[in-house]
């Protein structure tokens, strides 16, 4: 048990900031992101024998945090679409969080957002993403394609963004 706890603490020390930043990009509110990530790590420790064997334990934590976020919103807002009012404070401090692309990412359906975060931010391959999300690889590819298509619709092309900046 002590050995396991040491392992977990090492994992936590190495992964906590990176996981927090990824979740912060996805939810926009720093305090909520901290709560979600702390909760996800709590669950990770409770399921440590399973999580330590996972091909991407950080992805497990991020995914659990994002799922908890969906659950929180369901409980409190009951299907009201994810709003932007809770993102203002963090966006003020971290201007990157306010970019049109990040805002569009937050508007994506949860599955598409998760796939984009795992594939493009955590840089997981399709197979590991599929395993983390419990879906076939083909579904990952299809969510990625649809998510990118939605971002393309919502956000000006990067070269236009460059001009805007």
């Amino acid at each position: 048990m002590e050995q396991e706890q040491r392992e977990f603490e090492e994992f936590y020390a190495a992964a906590r900031d990176a996981c927090l930043r990824v979740v912060l990009i996805s939810v926009g509110d720093q305090w909520r992101a901290e709560d979600l990530v702390a909760e996800a790590f709590t669950r990770a420790w409770m399921s440590w024998p399973k999580v330590r064997e996972h091909p991407a334990p950080r992805a497990w934590v991020v995914r659990t945090a994002l799922n908890t976020h969906v659950s929180w919103w369901r409980r409190h807002r009951r299907e009201v679409a994810l709003g932007s009012h809770d993102t203002a404070a963090a966006a003020g401090r971290y201007p990157g969080l306010d970019s049109s692309l990040v805002a569009a990412l937050r508007r994506l359906p949860a599955r598409q957002r998760e796939v984009i975060v795992l594939r493009l931010v955590l840089d997981l391959d399709t197979a590991t993403t599929a395993q983390t999300l419990g879906m076939p690889s083909g579904t990952v590819a299809s969510h990625l394609h649809r998510g990118l298509a939605a971002l393309r619709r919502d956000v000006p092309a990067p070269d236009e963004q460059e001009r805007i900046r």
Binding site: R43, W45, M46, R74, R75, R78, L97, H145, Q161
Partner: protein, 230 residues
């Protein structure tokens, strides 16, 4: 721009944003996370014991229901199981309190017996699109004017909460008089992906444990025999 180029551009932008957050740190010590998990385990064990007691009580109730002159008391307009309570109110509404994901079919039957065109569905949270309720056309909570086939928020409030504000998270109402013509209600009870084992089935709805039932969603739907029974 094709998917490969677009995904490279998106990756590069998100990486830039990620890197710009280098001053963001999670300051919670590992010992606090471990302590939190320990408390959670204790609560889980306590709830599992309480759940076992609930099952015993439920079994006793089921036996009692088979005996003449006992069981669910329709004279008080109450149907009560360990998993949920349905209580008719003097103003014609029905108050529903969800305790656990059990006996959804009986909950549906009880609501229909009270004249509410209703469907009760249970949904693993992994199945993201809870709007996909087989046999039903769901009107999601939509913009205030109800455009694009949605349910205006004011109507949703009127049907499921009436005048009630700041209520317990495990309780809602159905006001049959507020349900529009040819519409019914769908209640989707969600439980998370970690709750597949029997250990987790008895957690109460609305608790903030993150185990057992996580939440529920309430929708208006087209009332049809296949969806809402009438």
């Amino acid at each position: 721009m094709n998917d490969t180029a677009l995904s490279a551009a998106v990756r590069s932008h998100l990486t830039e944003v990620h890197d710009s957050l280098s001053t963001v740190h999670l300051d919670i010590p590992a010992s606090e996370i471990v302590a939190r998990a320990r408390k959670r385990r204790v609560r889980r064990r306590q709830s599992a014991l309480a759940g076992a007691a609930g099952i015993a009580a439920c079994a006793a109730l089921a036996v009692a229901a088979l005996l003449p002159g006992s069981g669910t008391d329709s004279s008080t307009g109450q149907a009560r199981l360990a998993a949920w309570t349905v209580a008719k109110q003097p103003d014609g509404s029905v108050m529903i309190t969800l305790h656990a994901v059990r006996h959804p079919a009986r909950l549906q039957q009880t609501l229909r017996a009270d004249g509410i065109p209703a469907k009760v569905s249970v949904n693993r949270q992994e199945v993201e699109n809870s709007l996909d309720v087989p046999g039903c056309h769901v009107y999601p909570l939509g913009p205030p004017d109800g455009a694009a086939g949605g349910t205006p928020e004011a109507l949703w409030q009127k049907v499921f909460y009436g005048p009630h504000m700041n209520v317990r998270s495990d309780t809602f109402w159905v006001y049959p008089s507020a349900i529009p013509h040819e519409r019914g209600v769908v209640i989707v009870i969600h439980y998370g992906p970690d709750k597949l084992s029997n250990d987790y089935r008895n957690y109460p709805v609305g608790t903030d444990l993150g185990y057992g039932v996580d939440s529920y969603s309430l929708y208006l739907v087209n009332a049809t025999p296949k969806c809402t029974g009438s």
